[in-house]
């Protein structure tokens, strides 16, 4: 009886290995041959792939799994290509109803796509977040009309859901946890980030403008109705990375971006800062890009709810040392922090803070060795016209 069992077992294992190679070839061939306007269906099942799947130069194509937990593409042991799924130079693409796991690099990267929708897609690393994990889970870059809806990102060593150098963006109804940054909007124009949950990240939601990129700046970003809680994960980003500087316990952070409205968020149990508004100088990186604008301005923080536990801020990392040795709040850590570094070309930075529940504030006077740090919020009690909601246009 036993030899028969062994033979059967070997036969099944061998055939499943062959089947995996077949599936890889089948899907990649579909990606290459897909006619514009077609639907590429990936069947239900758990598949191990060793190479990236790349869709290039297509129009009006849908990549559809059988369900987020039903179609699982695992890239553990991947030897070719950094991403799981890559889409480039395309128009009107939808990726839906599948999970991409354990890629060497980014989970799903879409670049130079006009009209990209991620619907019910999960990108995850299943090792609880490590520096060797890929950088981004869902990564549209240099795209327009981006919709990320009902998606999840878990375990990324940079940002779970990251939209970079793009225009017209909506990120909603999504979850990001166990990443260094949960959700990040970087150097992008016109973004609405709402009704998401960002928890157990190092930093929940980041809105950044960084130097040395092709799209030099961004702005007009609304972050609202999000539940941003318990973002106290250790920062496991690789050392030289900018996101490696975000301190454990960060709820929302705005770095250098202009025209940002943060409202109606519940920012709960982030031990270091509920909402930080800082310039690029806080990173202590040199700025070589002559056209870069490092100072945030036109920031409107209103109607958020803040809560934090009665503990000290983090002492980990460079920023942690700042809190421990220079700021020394003890357990009385303010929810909203502004670095106070002045822009000699613009005295009125138009930072308004109003009507937040449990509001507390500090200007840490970082440009002046923290000498005149102040919790006086009066100068920031103002309002601004709300930013216009994002409207995604469908591309013809």
């Amino acid at each position: 009886m036993r030899p028969l069992f062994i033979i059967l077992f070997l036969a099944v294992t061998a055939s499943s290995v062959l089947a995996q190679k077949d599936i890889q070839k089948k899907i990649q061939t579909q990606f290459i041959d897909a006619a514009n306007g077609s639907v590429i269906e990936i069947p239900e099942g758990h598949f191990t792939l060793d190479a990236s799947l790349w869709l290039d130069g297509k129009k009006d194509v849908v990549i559809k799994g059988a369900g987020q937990d039903k179609t699982v593409l695992s890239f553990l042991g991947q030897i070719s290509g950094a991403e799981g799924i890559k889409v480039t130079n395309a128009t009107n693409i939808t990726i839906q109803d599948l999970t991409v796991q354990n890629t060497k690099g980014d989970g799903v990267k879409t670049q130079l796509v006009e009209g990209i929708t991620f619907q019910n897609v999960k990108a995850e690393w299943t090792n609880n977040g490590k520096a060797e994990n890929g950088g981004y889970g869902l990564y549209p870059v240099q795209c327009t009309n981006v919709l990320i809806d009902h998606c999840s990102a878990v375990g990324a060593s940079d940002a779970g859901i990251y939209v970079g150098q793009s225009k017209n963006i909506i990120v909603r109804n999504s979850k990001a946890y166990m990443n260094v940054a949960g959700i990040e909007i970087e150097n992008s124009w016109y973004a609405d980030v709402y009704e998401n949950e960002a928890f157990n990240n190092t930093g929940g939601i980041l809105v950044f403008d960084l130097p040395d990129l092709i799209q030099k700046e961004g702005g007009y970003v609304r972050v609202f109705k999000n539940y941003v809680h318990d973002n106290n994960h250790i920062n496991f980003a690789p050392k030289a990375n900018t996101v490696g500087k975000v301190p454990q316990g960060t709820g929302l952070m705005v770095l250098a971006t202009r025209h940002v409205e943060l409202f109606d968020n519940r920012i709960i149990n982030n031990i270091t800062v509920g909402t930080a508004v800082v310039s690029y100088y806080i990173t202590e990186n040199p700025i070589n890009d002559k056209s870069y604008k490092p100072y945030p301005s036109d920031i409107f923080i209103h109607d958020n709810e803040y809560e934090r536990p009665n503990v000290k801020a983090t002492s980990k990392g460079r920023m942690g040392k700042l809190f421990k040795y220079k700021l020394r709040f003890g357990k009385n850590v303010p929810h909203i922090l502004y670095d106070g570094i002045e822009d000699s070309n613009n005295k009125n930075r138009n930072i308004c803070i109003r009507n937040n529940k449990n509001e507390s504030f500090v200007n840490i006077d970082a440009g002046n060795k923290f000498k005149n740090k102040s919790r006086d919020i009066k100068a920031y009690d103002c309002e601004q016209s709300p930013i216009t909601p994002v409207v995604l246009s469908s591309v013809n």
Binding site: K21, Q24, K25, K26, Q28, T29, F31, I32, D33, D50, A51, W54, L55, D56, Q78, I79, S80, G81, A82, T103, K104, G105, A131, E132, G134, G135, Y136, S157, D158, G164, D212, L213, I214, P238, K239, A240, N241, N288
Partner: protein
Amino acid sequence: MKILVGLGMLVSLFSFISLKENNTFQRKDKLSEYGFFSGNLASLNPAEGILIYNLNTPLFSNYAEKLRFIKLPQGSSAQYNDSVTFEFPIGTVFIKNFYYPFDFRKPEKGRVILETRLLVHEEEGWTAYPYIWNEEQTEAIYDPAGETKSISYIDAAGKKITTPYVIPNKNQCKGCHIRNQVMVPIGPSARQLNRDIKYENKTENQLKHWVESGRLSGVPDVNAIPKLAVWNEQASGTLNNRARAYLDANCGHCHNRLGPASTSGLFLDITEKDPAHLGVNKSPVAAGRGAGEFQFDIVPGQPHKSILVFRMNTNDPAIAMPEIGREQIHKEGLALIEEWIRKNDFN
């Protein structure tokens, strides 16, 4: 009856001639159907009109060796320029065969051919067609999906090597073969072709041979033709020449101002003169994990603090450079770049 047969033969002869002169490329499912090679397909014996060529410093492809051929349409020639690949007429086909000798020390023992890549100049532009060889080495079949194979061979030092070998899929061709958003050949440029090679009857400079066989026009005086050093031939150039040749061939097709890596600001093609853009004390822009723990692309005098070396010295697909085309580290190329970073005067 005889007249009919005669007429029939004339008609078919006429059609045959027309087909031969027809430049419209028709992709075949099997490599043998093109008639590029005479005799046994695996001997890669070029048929009439198919010309072998090679390059001063070729791309490293996982230690695979390559046999390159060009087919120009009858009576046509390429147009010379001194900086990028020549202007090749519609109908040109490049044929690149990748193989491993069983034993690198003893090529006479035979080889296994893994893939043949065609790059064809069609009406709408260049198109890539990948073919995968069967185990029996009797045929190669068109396969746009690519494949991962495991290959074993004895290397030049007598050591047995087993490595994965990734045959790229059709989309990946564009990953490197692109300039200004358009698909292009990479190898056949003046500086790469300017060398002596052994033809059937004699050894001759390739460009001279191309001109004399009517394949190349517009060539200036031989002294005005640029020549790339051979990366591993000391006599062919200084350390700087050879390192720059290596970077040009392995990196420059992406890392140039018009290539897919233009957003990095790191330019490694032969024309780059600015040390900052060459990577000296340059911080990466969006390398992510690729930068490791290092701050600068090139730290003069310190190869092991330089990101260039870090990315050449790994197989991790999220870090390794080049992104496509190698599954092993090129030990000898790495040694050249390390030496260059250590000794070169970058000012």
